[in-house]
Symmetry: C2
Subunit: 111 residues, 2 copies
DNA sequence: CCAATGGTTCGAAGATTGTGGAACCTTATA
DNA sequence: TATAAGGTTCCACAATCTTCGAACCATTGG
């Protein structure tokens, strides 16, 4: 099999709330993950955080918060997981939001 | 005197962080306040929340979180306080962010 | 079948936030 | 000066979030 079962719950596009999305993005580690996924889907094992010492349970939890907020998708692939940003859906629901957040996080300098 | 002392601390524009702003906006009550202030400065006593029963200490705390994140300004005026959105500064620092958030909160319908 | 890889889930402890009463401060008004 | 209006601050308590080890689950490869 190429695709598998063992699926995690994801909110429908219509169920995604602004509050949950903003909260999910209000953490440096989670924002960093989102920035990486903005460049394309990534296997979880290839998604590195600032601190490389973070336990897998913690990393998994970060993904859970993002997933339950509707920010990312997390599907089984082989023995690992493929992560992706739900960009199209987020853009439809909250136009410009993700773009502004990513731009802000990319250049937080003095100007 | 028209202006008074008794000033509360506000972060400089350069000190405003994305994380803190997103967190401040990730709460329905605070977002509602921001939406009201987006239409112009408002005396705190004239700024009403969904629940009219909320104690003043709680209301004051909501304002504190927004102020310390750099989202709003809170200055003494007469015996009350004048609240205002730091729109220009936020727009310079995080272009498009506040606009996207306000638009999202204005129309969270099914589309 | 067995072991290894890659992640999720559970549970407990610690840290952060939210809530609201009481006390206090400032300004306006009588 | 007294009194009231409008808010902030302090404090304790409740609720939520974070962190991470341990146990467990699924897939791949011997």
């Amino acid at each position: 099999m190429t695709t598998t079962n063992s699926d995690l719950p994801h909110p429908d596009e219509a169920e995604i709330t602004l509050d949950a999305v903003l909260f999910a993005l209000s953490d440096p580690a989670r924002l960093e993950i989102v920035a990486q996924l903005a460049e394309g889907p990534l296997e979880m094992a290839r998604c590195h955080l600032g601190d490389p010492e973070v336990p897998k349970s913690t990393k998994s939890h970060l993904m859970k918060v993002l997933r339950e907020a509707g920010v990312i998708r997390n599907v089984a692939q082989g023995r690992g997981r493929l992560l992706s940003l739900r960009r199209d859906e987020l853009d439809r629901r909250f136009p410009g939001l993700i773009g502004a957040v990513l731009a802000a996080q990319a250049g937080p300098g003095t100007g």
